[in-house]
Amino acid sequence: MDMSQYLEVFVDESKEHLQTINEQLLELEKSPDDISIVNEIFRSAHTLKGMSATMGFEDLANLTHKMENVLDGIRNHKITVTPEILDVVFRAVDDLEAMVNSIAEGGDGKRDVEEVVEQLKRIEQGESPVATKTERTTHSSNATLTQTYGEFEYNVLQQSKEQGFFTYEIRVKLRADCLLKAARVFMVFETLNQVGEVIKSNPPAELLEEEQFDQEFIVTVVSKESEDELYRRVMKVSELEEVTVTRFDIDELKGTNEHDISESEVHQQKMEVAATLQKEEKKGKKHEQETSTTHKQTTAVNKTIRVNIERLDILMNLFEELVIDRGRLEQISRELNNPELHETVERMSRISSDLQNIILNMRMVPVETVFNRFPRMVRQLARDLGKKIHLEIIGAETELDRTVIDEIGDPLVHLLRNAIDHGIETPDVRRAKGKPEEGTVKLKAYHSGNHVFIEIEDDGAGINREKVLQKAINKGIISKQNAANLTDKQVYELIFASGFSTADKISDISGRGVGLDVVKSTIESLGGSVTIDSQEGVGSIFSIQLPLTLSIISVMLVEIQDEKYAIPLSSIIETAMIKKEDILHAHNQKVIDFRGKVVPLLFLRDIFEVPVSKEESDTLSVVIVRKGEKMAGLVVDSFIGQQEVVLKSLGNYLTSVFAISGATILGDGQVALIIDCNALIK
C-alpha cells in the first residue's frame, strides 16, 4: 500500500505526540508519583509506535517500544522515577524527534540509537530483575467466576473507601439469546460509570469487548449510590438475565485474597482508573469517560482541521477583491438611490466585515506553539549548567500571526539562553545572596493595543553597568567620553550591539559570537522592538514588542506626481511642510534643519524616476523617517492619509527592487508600492 499520502499527517501527528511526551515528562519530573502522567505519556508513545509501525518506520517503532517498556516499568512501580532515568528517556525522545524530522525531510528515519536503546534496556532490567512481559492468564473455563484483587486494586479500593465510596461486586448474567454481547457489556459499564467507577472486571474489559466470555461477568464498582439504586440502573439494560449486587468491605479482603499481579494489561488499566478517580475527586466529581470500558485513547480531541497557510492567503486575497467590489457596489447603490438595493448592499457590507475578522483570525496561532518547547530546553540547560531554574509561562494562549510565530522562535531561544546562562546565578551564589536557590525565569506574553508583548524576566544577577561599559569601550563600540553620559537604559542597549559578549567565559549556551545583535535585528525585521530593564542583583526584563500581524500594516499614503506610494508608519517620525527657501546645502546634499537636527532630504521623485507631469510648488511635503538613530526627510508631492493596508509581496519575479519592500492593493483596486525606508537611509 502506498503510504506517501499519509506521510504528512503521520509527521504532523508524530510531532504532536512527541510534544505531548516532552511536556508530560517534564510534569512527571515535578511529580514523579502521579501515575496519570505516565499514562498520558504511555498513550502518546503507544500511538506513535503503532503509527510508525504501520508506516513502516521500524527503527522509530522499535525505539518507541523500548521507551514504552521503561514507562511501563514506571507505572507498575517497578522503576522509580529519577532525573537520570528521565535524562535517558528525554534522549530517546530527542532521537525520536530527529527520526521524525528526517522522515519529514524525505529521509528514511533511520538513526543510530544503539546507545539509548542499551540505556533504556539497562533501566528496564536494572530496576526490575524479572521480565515484565505479560503472562496472559487464561480465564476460559472457570465454572464459577470469582474476583481477585491485586495489590494495586486493593489500594484503589482502599482509597475510594476513604473518600466515602462503597465497593460493590456486580455479577451480571446475559440472556442466552443475547445477540450483541459486547454492546450489552458496554451499556452496563456505561451505566455504572454514570454513578461510580468500574475498577475491575472479570473477564477483563478487552475480552469482554471481544465477546470472549460465556454469559456471565463480574464487575467491581466503587460508587456512592446504594445497592438497590445500582441494581435498578443496571437492570435498565435489556437482555440481562440476572444481576446481583453485593456490597463488600475491602478490609475483609485483605489476606483472604492472594495478590494477583500477573495480569499486567488489566493491571495497567486499573492504574488509569485510579488516576481518574483521584482527578475526579479534585474536580468535584466531574465524570470523565476515560475508564476501563474502552481501552482506546480518549484524550480530549479538539475539533480542528489542518489548512495549508497558502490556502488562507488565497482566501484572503479573494476576500480583498470582494471588499473592493463591495466599495464599488456601495458607490453605485448611493447613486441609484434604490432603497431595496441599498438595504441589500448594507447587509452585504456587514456580513463581509464579519467575514474579514474571521479570516484575519484564522491566521492567528497561540504563542503556545513556540513556548511549548521551552520547558524542555530550560530543563536541559539548567542541568547542564548546574543551576536550579523554574520556568514560568504566562499567557501562552496569546495569539499572533502565523508568520510572526514562525520567526519569533529563535530570538526567544536566544534570550532565554541568555537569561539562564548570564542571568540566573548558581545555587550557592544565590544562597549567599539570600535568594532562593531556585531561580525563576518568567516568560510572559500579552496583548496590548495593536501589539503583542513578550517578556522574559529573570530574578538573576541583573546587568552590571560598569562591566558592560568597560566591555563596550574595549571592543570599540563606544568611546570613553561618551560612556559617562549614557543613561542606564542606553548602557543596556549596548549589549545588543554587534560583537558584544559580556560573559567572562564563553560558554556553549549563549555568547558564542552570534550575539544578541542577531536577536535585535530579527525582531526589528518583524517590525518589532526589544528593550531591556534591569536592576543589578535583582534581575532583568527583556521586553519584545511585536505587531499583531505582518500581513496588515499601517501606512501613510503619499502621492508623487501621479503615482501613489505607501510609507510604513513604524518608520515615520512626523510629516512636515517645508518652504523651498528653508532648504540648506551641505556637500551637494540638500538638508533641512529639523528641530535642531540636520536632516538630509531625499527626493523620491528622482530616486524612483517618476515621470514628471506636474509643476513643483513652493512648499515641499516632507515625511521624516528614521532608521535607528538616523533620520531622513522624504520629499513627496502630497500626503493622502493614513491607512491600514494588506502587505503583499511583488512575487518571485521581481525579487529585489531597490527601496521597495512590497506592495498593497488600494481601495480602487490599484497597486501601490510600499517604500522600504531602511534601504533609503544609509
Binding site: V657, G669, Q670
Partner: protein, 147 residues
C-alpha cells in the same frame, strides 16, 4: 482507432507586430484585458510594473520591449497573458491573443540558425501549420533576468 497516438502540443497563439508566437497551454494561467499597471521604479525597461490580479500582485512584462520590437500603443485587442513557470508568475503584454491550437510534434522544427544577425535563445522552435508560422517560446529563457 489510431494505432499510434501522435504527440500533440496544445498552445496558446498570440500576436506581436506581424508575427505569431506560441506558448504551451499548461504554462498559461489566464488571459486578461489590459488594466491599470503600477510602475515599479528601477526595474528593467521591459518590466512595465505590477497589476492587481484578483488580489495577487503580478509583475507585467511588455513582450514587445523584451524582444526589441518597437513599442505600440495599447489597442482593443491588447491582452495580458498570465503565465506561470516554476514558482514565478508574470503577465505578458501582447498585441492580441489569437488562438488555441494543437500542434503535431512532427511539425515543430528547430530554430533556423540564422535569423538576421541577432542570436536569440528564447525561441524553442518554429512550427508551420497550414500557412501560419508559429514561433514557440522558451518561457524560462524569456524570464531570465540578465539583459
Amino acid at each position: 482507432m489510431m494505432e499510434v497516438q501522435e504527440a500533440e502540443l496544445k498552445v496558446i497563439v498570440f500576436q506581436l507586430k506581424d508575427e505569431e508566437y506560441a506558448i504551451p497551454v499548461q504554462q498559461v494561467r489566464s488571459i486578461e484585458k489590459v488594466q491599470h499597471i503600477t510602475r515599479v521604479p528601477r526595474t528593467p525597461h521591459f518590466v512595465k510594473g505590477v497589476i492587481n490580479l484578483r488580489g495577487v500582485v503580478t509583475p507585467i512584462i511588455d513582450l514587445r520591449e523584451r524582444f526589441g520590437i518597437e513599442a505600440a500603443p495599447f489597442s482593443e485587442q491588447t491582452r495580458i497573458i498570465i503565465v506561470a513557470v516554476d514558482e514565478v508568475e508574470v503577465g505578458f503584454i501582447v498585441d492580441a491573443a489569437n488562438d488555441v491550437l494543437d500542434i503535431p510534434a512532427h511539425s515543430i522544427e528547430p530554430t533556423p540558425e540564422v535569423i538576421e544577425a541577432v542570436e536569440v535563445d528564447y525561441i524553442h522552435g518554429v512550427a508551420k501549420i497550414d500557412k501560419r508560422l508559429l514561433i514557440l517560446l522558451d518561457l524560462e529563457k524569456v524570464l531570465e533576468k540578465h539583459s
